[in-house]
């Protein structure tokens, strides 16, 4: 036991004396949460738009005011001829132009039918789509208001209700993803690097020719990172609660338990990586390419798994991060208990045991 404690003490010296790993450990999580929370978002806010009002009557003015008043759009410019539409798009700031037909109000009252054109800059298709939807819904909303006064014979009124994230805040889906990525990065990459560093510097040779047992070396390497990763997880959850007002509907205890499970899973992957690589460089490359990319791309963090091609959907099943994201989303947003996520939890446990078993089998007690 004394040996083990001595070993852990040494590991903490390594971590706290290496500025680079300290930065990765504590700087990255905060920077990433902030980045994903504030900058990388698929909501739209204050999009600059222009109006081409050929009618200039009370109704169009009302619509323009309504749109400009919303937090999504800013009225930047009034356009007076067709040629100008093209030129404002080319300048690049204006993302959409709304064109009202001639005699807009008159046609509406006399013919019960009028038209408005929405032109969007689709160089960024996602944004264009969102702008389109938002503008359409504002127009529809206005239509409903004026329809109230006039009786329409047949009407279907869809009543939508968004549950678990009613305001459609994208930060709610990013926080679980970022947490997953960071725990994976810190746990797997840092442990694999710290084990391979001993190999590279030759200290592993001395450790092998000593009474310290292989499992003590591995546990000694893993323990400090469990501790630091838990701190990281706590920091991320606190940031998301207090800065992004993310709710934690489920039990904090369950969230903690699942996080520790995932951390151990990632650490066992890190050990596995260190058994197959002999230099820090290789360990880092394998961690980045072999873990980070799948975690970001295939876990459902950014791209929904359901819309992936079938082969990728199948591959996504072997990525622990996928299951962890399902678990924490369920706990934080839906507030479910273990009875609803026992399957995912079991998969993570099985994966962890599998990785540990291979690592122990592959761990070398000699140099070859």
């Amino acid at each position: 036991m004394k040996r083990f404690i001595g070993f852990i003490k040494k590991e903490f010296y390594h971590i706290f004396r290496d500025k680079r790993s300290l930065f990765i450990l504590f700087g990255m999580p905060i920077a990433q949460v902030m980045l994903f929370g504030f900058a990388i978002t698929n909501e739209i806010n204050n999009v600059d738009i222009a109006f081409f009002d050929k009618s200039k009557d009370a109704t169009t003015q009302e619509i323009i005011n309504k749109i400009s008043a919303s937090k999504y759009f800013t009225n930047k410019q009034m356009i007076s001829n067709d040629a100008e539409i093209e030129s404002v798009f080319k300048k690049g700031n204006i993302k959409a132009v709304l064109v009202f037909d001639r005699d807009f109000s008159e046609k509406l009252t006399k013919e019960n039918k009028t038209s408005v054109q929405i032109i969007t800059d689709a160089t960024d298709p996602n944004t264009a789509n969102t702008i389109n939807n938002y503008l359409s819904s504002i127009l529809q909303n206005y239509q409903q208001v004026i329809n109230k006064q006039m009786k329409v014979p047949f009407q279907i009124n869809p009543e939508t209700r968004l549950v678990y994230n009613p305001e459609l805040k994208s930060v709610f889906t990013f926080v679980p993803g970022v947490m997953t990525v960071i725990l994976m990065l810190v746990s797997a990459m840092m442990t694999s690097i710290s084990i391979t560093r001993e190999k590279e510097l030759g200290t592993m040779e001395i450790l092998l020719v000593s009474p310290i047992k292989p499992f003590q070396v591995i546990l000694g390497k893993v323990f400090p990172y469990i501790f630091l990763s838990v701190i990281n997880a706590v920091v991320i959850v606190l940031l998301s609660i207090f800065i992004f007002k993310m709710p934690v509907e489920g039990s904090l205890f369950l969230l903690g338990f699942e996080s520790v499970l995932f951390i151990i899973n990632a650490l066992s992957l890190g050990i596995l990586i260190s058994t197959v690589s002999s230099t820090q460089q290789t360990a880092m490359m394998i961690s980045l390419m072999g873990l980070m990319l799948p975690v970001i791309l295939l876990s459902g963090f950014i791209f929904p798994i359901a819309s992936m091609p079938l082969p990728l959907q199948i591959i996504s099943n072997i990525i622990p991060a996928k299951w962890f994201i399902i678990i924490i989303k369920a706990i934080m947003l839906k507030g479910v208990g273990l009875t609803f996520i026992w399957k995912e939890t079991l998969i993570l446990v099985a994966m962890t045991l599998f990785f540990i078993a291979i690592s122990i089998k592959k761990y070398k007690i000699r140099l070859e």
């Binding site: 390594h14 510097l201 200290t203 001395i206 020719v209 000699r366 140099l367």
Partner: protein, 300 residues
């Protein structure tokens, strides 16, 4: 026997690093493996410290088999690899404490064993190991290898890259450790250090050329060696190689070492021959055989 090696062979993908090597080291002996880089010294060390499996042959260290009883060996030996292998980001004191802890002991418990060495680096105990000089690094590494009072000490090229003064001190320390009953197996590419061992094995290309104590090895040299010097060493080398009676010629310090095919040389004749070749200030004198001469002869 403290170390016993029987017919050990080991090959890697492309090279046969060790070929059928056998030797024995008595308890309390200071035994040297002497040979150039790539001779297979490190491989032998790694087999004996249970880090590598031999392809063929058996070996025991402190009475334990290197394969079956590897755990006992790891408890009872001290190993100092050829490359400086301590934690560079830990201080001198932290390194020593760490190695004491993983061997289940404390610095205080075995302080008398490392005292002579450690007092020299103690003033720098708060300094990171990475910032020590070469000589001090070696002293720290030796202290760490000794901290658990090993029965057998393996030192793989401990003086490579160390200044001459520190080298001399280092060997004095080894002598003192030997008196405390520790068996020491040391390897070195420096022939002058060989003379300080009780017995040495000359090794080249994975094969042992000769095992004996240094005096005996020198004594068995077949002929007399001459130191020859002239104003132009390079020209001298070429001239001597052309000389009809010449057996071996190689540079040695400020002289050229020369052996003749005959039992005794004709100094006058040789001087004339060299003057003919345009050399001046010629000195020819018999000299004592060194281990390096023996090695050159055996490796021929």
């Amino acid at each position: 026997m403290s170390i016993s090696v029987k017919n050990i062979s080991k090959s890697f993908k492309t090279v046969n690093a060790v070929k059928d090597v056998s030797f024995e080291v008595k308890e309390g002996e200071l035994f040297g493996l002497i040979g150039p880089d790539g001779a297979g010294k490190t491989t032998i060390f790694r087999i004996l410290t249970t880090l590598l499996f031999a392809d063929k042959g058996t070996a025991t260290v402190a009475g334990f088999d290197v394969i079956e009883d590897y755990k006992e060996i790891r408890n009872n030996v001290g190993y100092m690899p050829g490359r400086f292998s301590l934690y560079q980001d830990l201080t001198v004191e932290e390194n020593l404490t760490f190695f004491a802890t993983i061997f289940g002991t404390t610095i205080e418990e075995n302080y008398d064993l490392i005292k002579d060495i450690y007092v020299q680096i103690e003033p720098f105990k708060k300094r990171r190991a990475g910032q020590l000089s070469g000589g001090m690094k070696q002293k720290l590494a030796l202290s760490c290898a000794l901290i658990h009072k090993p029965k057998v000490l393996f030192l793989d090229e401990p003086t490579t890259g160390v200044d001459p003064v520190s080298r001399k001190e280092f060997w004095e320390m080894l002598k003192r450790l030997q008196q405390k009953g520790i068996t020491i197996l040391v390897s070195t590419p420096y022939m002058d250090e060989a003379a300080l061992c009780d017995r040495i094995a000359l090794i080249q290309d994975g094969k042992i050329l000769q095992i004996d104590d240094p005096q005996e090895i020198v004594k068995h040299f077949p002929t007399t060696i001459y130191d020859i010097k002239a104003d132009n060493i390079y020209k001298l080398l070429l001239a001597l190689k052309e000389y009809k009676h010449s057996y071996s010629v190689y540079p040695f310090g400020e002289f050229v070492h020369y052996t003749d095919k005959r039992d005794a040389i004709d100094t006058k004749e040789l001087t004339l021959f060299l003057k003919d070749k345009g050399l001046n200030n010629i000195i020819i004198q018999p000299t004592e055989t060194t281990i390096e001469d023996t090695f050159m002869e055996l490796a021929k």
